[in-house]
């Protein structure tokens, strides 16, 4: 009755991740208040930096080591840039969604994911964002981005997503 230790518990959760933007690509372009009449192939005026794939703001996820909830050095410039953006765009709102890998209990992971999201929220606030622009929530281990049961998947799942309201 030998068993594979870390063999599969969870199956086929890709669909559950569909609402998250993938890590490496910018979020879908949202319509903003700047009405440009032309389809604008390379409109230089009034481009929302949030929609610029070359901007640091294109990064919308912060990653963590196992059981860690503080923003890592490497991700601090990203969070600070979003904080500055929110300070300059008081009408924008962002949802901070904390996630965990599947190790631990569901409830502990829910708490850990909330602590991750709250940590990002605090850093955004220090960078100028207002509390009213942000909401922090946790999905714990319930909405994994990667469904495999190894470190490659887990490292993708330990993160906080910055989800801007459309």
């Amino acid at each position: 009755m030998k068993k594979l230790v870390m063999s599969v518990v969870l199956v086929n959760l890709l669909a559950a991740c569909a609402s998250h933007p993938p890590a490496e690509t910018p979020a879908p372009v949202t319509e903003t208040a700047a009405p440009v009449a032309a389809p604008a192939p390379a409109a230089p005026v009034a481009v929302d930096p949030l929609n610029d794939p070359a901007s640091i703001l294109a990064g919308r996820s912060v990653y963590y080591p196992f059981d860690v909830s503080t923003v890592q050095e490497a991700d601090k410039p990203l969070v600070q840039a979003h904080g500055k953006y929110l300070a300059e765009h008081a009408d924008r709102k962002v949802r901070l969604e904390g996630n965990c890998d599947e190790r631990g209990s569901n409830e502990y992971n829910l708490a850990l994911g909330q602590r991750r999201a709250d940590g990002v929220k605090k850093m955004l606030e220090l960078s100028g964002a207002k509390a009213a622009q942000m909401e922090s929530v946790s999905y714990g281990e319930e909405k994994p981005r990667a469904s495999a049961h190894d470190e490659a998947a887990w490292s993708q799942n330990r993160r906080t997503d910055l989800n801007y309201a459309k």
Partner: protein, 421 residues
């Protein structure tokens, strides 16, 4: 520390199919002293008798405490027809006999007697009846009566369990009989459901649902199916637990910062904060006398089990040593608790006695989480994995008998054993 010895006894497979679901139960290991019992076919309705005795047999075998002796064609229905010496020769210490039938009002009824073949005495008779269609309930009741008479412990075959089934993005909150049959879907959502908790009388379930975009706590009646949102503060609202008298619930909220434990009435009123650690405090569970709470906290660095008085005051750390410990629950007598132990990347089901403070591992380790005691303290239900899926499993409190329950499809998660009916 003792590990379940794998492969020490027969592996028994019970295949059974119902209209609604296919369930497969795999039993590994056996109790130290099994009682050999013959379930003699009842007189009367033969088909009903076979169906009922099949359920009784499966229940008794799952407990690990019984061994079935083949009646081999013998079918006495009255005490006067029983040749005790003959049953002793066959190796049966006990036998059940009786009559099964459908009454005039369509109810099914079994009249049965339990006999001690060694002492050659009648251990008593019972009439068990139920509405048509409740054959499984009749079987479980008879199994309970036999179990209670021959082991001296309360039977739990008539109890129910709750768990979450996850299939892709679909989450279902499912209530089933303790053997996994008779599934009823209480709630079905395209958002996560977690942490179901039985009210002490089994009439309601509290749980966490993400349908509002974040974790919020609901209470739902099993009878009317009506739901009430009882905690929906900013952040996460989770980990509901009922006090034994049903008058209070413990919850975990992040509305004031980190995950902390609060008490509230089941209607959502009279909220008061219990812990002030600034760390993660979660998974509260009330002691059977309602005086204490066990919970998991990372206040000391690693995640460990703590206990505190419901009246307030400091918390005492209960688990030490390596690894992390999660999801504590008291045994029905309050003298021990069960929890998830994590060490070197493996998850185990473990128990600890309050007096000795000794941790005992009941499973071999792997992906075993979220244990809860049966109301008699003899079995523990938990979430495990098998064949690439999340499954339900039970282990006897001495670690000797293990059972894997493969329910239909998807992943079974977050099981909790319900109270006595």
């Amino acid at each position: 520390m003792r590990f379940l010895r794998h492969g020490l006894a027969a592996v028994l497979l019970v295949y059974s199919s119902l209209a609604a679901a296919v369930l497969e139960i795999e039993i590994i290991g056996a109790g130290e002293n099994q009682i050999p019992i013959a379930l003699v076919p009842f007189g009367g309705d033969e088909k009903l008798s076979a169906e009922i005795n099949g359920i009784v047999a499966a229940d008794l075998q799952r407990s690990g405490l019984f061994r079935l002796v083949d009646p081999a064609g013998k079918s006495p229905h009255g005490v006067e027809e029983v040749d005790y010496a003959d049953w002793q020769v066959r190796g049966a210490d006990a036998l059940s006999i009786g009559q099964a039938g459908v009454l005039a009002d369509d109810r099914i009824e079994v009249q049965f007697r339990l006999l001690d073949a060694v002492k050659q005495i009648d251990l008593g008779g019972h009439a068990v009846s139920a509405a048509k269609g409740q054959v499984r309930a009749v079987g479980h009741r008879i199994a309970d009566l036999i179990y209670e008479k021959l082991t001296g412990d309360r039977g739990v075959f008539s109890t129910r369990i709750v768990y979450v089934n996850r299939q892709g993005p679909r989450y279902k909150l499912i209530v089933a009989d303790s053997d996994g049959y008779n599934e009823q879907v209480l709630l079905s959502l395209n958002e996560p459901i977690m942490s179901p908790a039985w009210s002490p009388d089994g009439s309601h379930l509290a749980y966490v649902s993400f349908e509002n975009g974040h974790a919020a706590v609901y209470v739902q009646s099993l009878y009317t199916r009506q739901r009430k949102l009882i905690a929906n503060f900013e952040g996460s609202n989770s980990a509901p637990a009922w006090s034994p008298d049903g008058a209070l619930m413990a919850l975990v909220l992040t509305r004031d910062g980190s995950s902390q434990i609060y008490l509230v009435r089941p209607d959502g009123s009279n909220l008061r904060r219990m812990t002030f650690s600034g760390a993660i405090d979660t998974e509260p569970h009330f002691s059977p006398d309602g005086q204490h709470l066990l919970f998991a906290s990372d206040r000391g660095g690693s995640v460990q089990i703590y206990q505190m008085a419901v009246s307030g005051g400091p918390a005492e750390r209960m688990t030490f040593g390596g690894g992390n410990n999660y999801s504590p629950r008291y045994r029905h007598d309050g003298k021990a608790f069960v929890f998830t132990h994590r060490e070197n990347g493996r998850f185990y089901i473990a128990t600890q006695d309050f007096e000795s403070g000794q941790m005992e591992l009941l499973t071999a380790g792997g992906w075993e989480k979220k244990p809860s005691y049966a109301p008699n303290g003899k079995l523990i239900l938990y979430a495990s994995e098998g064949r690439g899926r999340g499954i339900l499993a039970t282990v006897s409190s001495d670690g000797r008998v293990k059972q894997n329950m493969f329910t239909q499809s998807g992943d079974a998660r977050e099981p909790v054993w319900g109270p006595l009916p």
